[in-house]
């Protein structure tokens, strides 16, 4: 069974028929070549396949391709400037040595990008919570957290009893 869907990836419009059995990850990787989204666990636990759908971090391995109809999708391929210059979040990940094998990095950069673009303030605890859907099997979490904090400079509240935590 096929369904016609229209959506954009990194600003470019697509309009074609997808097999209803396919996940968005299948479509992004196999049909459109956006291999920055990784297939990890396949069951929504590791976050390696995360992309931004209408700005919201989403696991694409458990998101049916047909659901992408009408959505704006952003993958890691669409984060850097057109001239190849890295985004501030990407630079922070490089500067802090937050990239080891790199498998979890696209998802983490995208989630951090969404946090940055939200314009909201976060406590360190909230930041950890927001990144908790990404597993790094190299266990490089300290540097990842540092990179996220650097990306959100001026928007991370380090006070212990921040008003943001429960009363945001």
């Amino acid at each position: 069974m096929y369904k016609r869907i229209a959506f954009t990836v990194n600003g470019k419009a697509y309009d074609f028929e997808v097999d209803v059995r396919e996940s968005l990850l299948d479509v992004l990787r196999s049909h459109l070549g956006f291999t920055g989204a990784k297939q990890g666990c396949g069951v929504g636990e590791c976050g390696a396949c995360s992309v931004l759908i209408d700005g919201v971090p989403t696991d694409t391995c458990i998101y049916l391709a047909v659901w992408a109809d009408g959505k704006e999708i952003r993958t890691i391929e669409g984060v850097a400037e057109k001239n190849g210059e890295l985004s501030e979040v990407q630079k922070a990940f490089v500067d802090e040595g937050a990239v080891q094998c790199g498998f979890c990095t696209p998802g983490l950069v995208l989630t951090t990008t969404a946090l940055k673009e939200s314009g909201k303030d976060y406590t360190r605890e909230e930041l950890k919570r927001e990144l908790s859907g990404h597993l790094c099997r190299c266990t490089g979490y300290q540097n990842i957290l540092k990179a996220a904090e650097k990306s959100l400079e001026g928007h991370v509240c380090t006070c212990v009893d921040s008003p943001h935590y429960k009363g945001e």
Partner: protein, 293 residues
Amino acid sequence: MYDIKGYYDAETVSEATALLAENPNLKIIAGGTDVLIKMHGGQLEEAELLSLRKIKSLEKIDLADDGTIVIGAMATFSMVFHNPILKDLIPILTEAAISMGGPQIRNIATIGGNVCNGATSADSASSLFALNAQLKLESKNGERVVPIREFYLGPGKVAINPGEILTEVRIDPEDYKGFAGHYIKFAMREAMDIATLGVAVVCKVQGGNFEEVRIGLGVAGPTPLRCLEAEEYAKGKKISSATLAEIGKLAVKSAKARTSWRASKEYREHLVEELTQRALKTAVVSAGGAEVV
């Protein structure tokens, strides 16, 4: 690829109930974080899916004029957590919502799906039990409202009839007004983990006594459950560590814990006894009572 034989989208509830009436074999899919995982694991084959994702009216979270809290079944856990009405009136549900999975899962998983999946470990369940939530089910032939305690029948089994769709989770004003509560999820990790035990309590306090207590437990039996004996005991009792200790003991009597690879029966019972008391201690203070030391 998922083992999907057919896929249908409904844009309104009446369209969905009409499609369901025509083909009762349709499997309803909401966020997909349970249904697609079951397919991935081979527990659901050749599925014909009816997606409710386009029914935007089911995402609404509202406070009715009479004080009834109405949560659309398609509201995601992120929507529940960030909703100011819920955070203000029933924080034990928003705390339960933020404890579930990780951000990407909360962004898509729905409260209606969590309930209809029928798992005892459903993170919303212990809070919804403690809040006496009512479930509105709609079919082509009409609608009915079922208390959540009558909805859970067994592991993965809920009292939804063929042709019915869960559309709303409702909480009556008399079930939350004047109550304060607390929710504790006990798990091995702080994120992306299934609860070893979930405890949600609400209480009303009057002059140093418990006026009313309700205790909801998840993963303490084949379905989420209430500790009715402990609740009955607590009524009118002076708030003291002795009372709390007795409530903890009675709560264990209502539990039907079993040994699984996550934890043994004995450990779960220990958790029930201890965490019920801890949750109540915090709830008492939020309800304006004195701290129990």
